[in-house]
Subunit: 477 residues, 2 copies
């Protein structure tokens, strides 16, 4: 399909594509039932990125012009014929309560060799052996673990282990103050469904974690993004903003923040907590990375300072142990926690018992030693990535090396667009996270996020070098 | 704590208890921080059931008088002292979007020998051996399965196996039309969060599945319960009701319905689908039990009749294979499915890959043979339960034996209350599901649900005999 695109025009590329296709559909040029080109195919023929085409398709789908389904691709919606697709025209008018278009859904990453967009840890660094062994023993010796619905709040034995884990990190609570969720994503989702409704004000760092943005958007929240500097969220600005719009909830990822890598200073943590107290609101402290420091341990968690149950603290164990086990711990007190447990029970009747027990011995006995090794391995990778950046990054590209975590947040010079860069990179089998998905709405961003830990070290170095060379060519073109 | 209860009064027992305790708190008789008696303790001292006390405590918690947390019990809320509980007084005024009080949350079933309230299958009947073996092999040979986030929509190989499974049951769809969820509970939840919002009309059978009621209540839906007869939901009445209030969604469990055991006739299934077409709305067909028939296979699913994507079909594999694996399949078409996948991705980034692969070979190769054996075993149990009912059920207790499934739905004579019965039964280590939780609000019910499959056959027979004898004494008293 050929579409003339004006790269210097007022209209964004996705809008140009979606309007053109919509015209062809309404004019009858594209018949109902016609299959549209794949995202990959159209992005390649138009020389735009998959992000651009995905946005256009998401827009067309929202407006009812096309139907997309994973694996089958996108089709022009049919209005009045018989059989599926067909009579299913009614579906286009069926209202939903979904958040922003899920850009990534139509992506095809099967041919990406260097998936730098994924913030995860390569399996060779994860303790899959010991966890797998425990699981094999459990299914053999206690098969009934697979047959039981767990406790809604999470296995009491695992909660006790997590209680001790948190205590060693300055958070003193009872095992009754903890809840196990299927990953931190579910924890964020439970908080949102319990406490955030249409029009409620949620403050987040600018930029913030895409998964949290999606969840709050899905609840119809009014999201306000608070600028950051090298000490994290600008709590002084937030204070002024709260005067105008009192917060229902503040979401923060204060340590080695995703995506920026910035760590919030201790004074800011204290002030943020004071703010929550004076506004009688919740802070969600999402903390997947605090054990992954390279030099000094980061400041104590906000939760460790909390004396009045203002902080819902989320500790993901998925990310650092075994993402497939989907285990995270949520710490909160009083009726904030009891309401979250009620939401958990309605949402899935409790997380599976087997995976909870499979990670238990490792967290209890081997976690700290493992975390020390993992810190070392990640630091080595970051140093290697830093060397490559120094050597190959074109002029005008800037970055701050985070003191821990998995990600680099690169700022590109203004000129050539990130969408074109993404399209070019994909053709070389490389992907990255465009910064604009770390904001709500259509906020343009000059940043990209690169994760240096999801490949082997050698693969990471090869891919990053290739990407930086490509970036150089792109910026000079 | 002593409370004078008027058993013949206008006010319900829970209301009498909660008002008395609230008065004692506001008058200062009960000081902030005071621990209330446990649900079990108070129910025993007042000679009422745990349900009654739980309702009272849930009401007090909603009104901010007390704070409850699992494991720690319930405390009188503190308003203005230092440290947790304490300054956490702010929490009581922090708004939430939770549905009805989660009655069951404060229950203590640790001393129940005969948990007839649980609708599940005893582990000795489940294929935990083969599934456990597959899992042990997987963690050994493909440990990286624990390290990967799965596909949001579910593992493509498992979806292909499920596609063939559904095809053998008359539902012809592509693997791209299926999504894997963490149990059917999550499937219902995803539909509700995607398509049901405040004030939307949802029709359900009267009575219906408690887990679905909680989910729709949580979305602020207007739930309307449609009477049933021996052929299932009265679609004629529903048609008249829809004229007054058009449906956004109809939730049905048409085969061996939970809790009533009734199966919807084929003509009703067809008419229900026609109704959905004329109102351009969705039907959620929740179908955990259709393979568990004792004599004739039940009528074809509503989904198998659906040509225009009106039915979201949910098939739980958890219930019949391994509840701890939390695997269910959702079948839907067009942009109904693609919107559900978007909701799934925001809710948990996809179900764990390992458990999906662990059930795959069993579903592919052994399920049908296993289902035949399971039907036989359940039928034997139901026959044993039926014999005991005939022999020991007191006059005035009535029931219909369902043609399949796990549950009996007993109607008790009007006179003595079900709450008192529940309290008595608990003292003998027996529990059952009181019928009123199968409706929204405070609808009184003369029914109770008993599951005959979650114990060993011998245990079930012993417990049921004991319960029926107790019921006889209760009704004569």
């Amino acid at each position: 399909m050929h579409i003339d695109l004006l790269r210097s025009g007022d209209k964004s590329l996705p809008r140009q594509i979606s309007e053109t296709i919509a015209q062809r559909i309404t004019s009858g040029l594209l018949q109902p039932g016609t299959r549209l080109p794949s995202v990959r195919g159209l992005s390649s023929s138009l020389k735009v990125s998959q992000v651009t085409v995905s946005k256009a398709y998401a827009d067309l789908e929202t407006r009812g012009h096309i139907l997309c389904s994973q694996g089958k691709g996108c089709y022009v919606a049919e209005r009045d014929r018989s059989r599926q697709g067909a009579e299913a025209g009614w579906q286009d008018g069926y209202d939903d309560y979904l958040p922003r278009a899920q850009l990534w859904r139509n992506f095809d990453y099967s041919e990406v060799d260097y998936p730098f967009h994924l913030a995860s840890i390569h399996s060779s660094l994860l303790p899959l052996g010991p966890i797998g062994t425990t699981m094999a023993v459990l299914v053999n010796e206690q098969p009934e673990l697979m047959a039981t619905y767990g406790n809604f709040q999470g296995d009491p034995e695992l909660r006790e282990v997590m209680r001790r884990h948190l205590q060693s990190r300055g958070i003193t609570l009872g095992a009754g103050d903890l809840m196990i969720t299927s990953g931190a994503q579910q924890g964020i989702d439970l908080v949102a469904r319990t406490f955030v409704g249409p029009g409620d004000t949620v403050y987040l760092e600018a930029p913030s974690y895409t998964g949290a943005i999606d969840v709050f958007a899905g609840r119809g929240a009014e999201m306000i993004f608070v600028p950051m500097d090298g000490d994290g969220m600008r709590v002084d600005l937030l204070t002024a903003m709260c005067d105008r719009r009192p917060p229902k909830l503040i979401y923060t990822n204060p340590t080695f923040q995703n995506p920026s890598g910035v760590t919030m200073s201790m004074p800011r943590r204290q002030r943020l907590l004071e703010l929550a107290r004076s506004y009688r609101c919740l802070i969600v402290e999402d903390d997947p990375f605090s054990d992954l420091y390279f030099h000094q341990p980061p400041p104590a968690s906000i939760k460790s300072l909390d004396t009045a149950g203002h902080v819902v603290y989320m500790k993901s164990f998925s990310k650092v142990l075994a993402p497939g086990c989907r285990i995270a711990c949520v710490a909160a007190e009083g009726n904030i926690l009891s309401r979250l447990i009620a939401a958990k029970s309605a949402s899935d009747l409790g997380s599976p018992l087997l995976t909870q027990r499979a990670v238990l011995p490792f967290i209890e006995r081997q976690y700290d030693e493992y975390a020390a090794k993992l810190r070392w391995a990640l630091r080595v990778r970051q140093e290697a990535a830093a060397r490559l950046l120094k050597q190959y990054a074109p002029a005008g590209v800037t970055w701050q090396l985070p003191e821990g975590g998995l990600n680099l947040w690169l700022q590109l010079p203004e000129s050539p667009g990130i969408e074109e860069l993404h399209a070019l990179a994909e053709r070389e089998g490389i992907s990255f996270l465009p910064g604009d998905v770390c904001y709500a709405g259509d906020m343009p961003s000059r940043h990209i996020r690169i994760c240096y830990s999801q490949l082997t070290q050698e693969g990471m170095e090869r891919g990053l070098r290739q990407f930086l060379l490509l970036l150089g060519r792109h910026l000079c073109s």
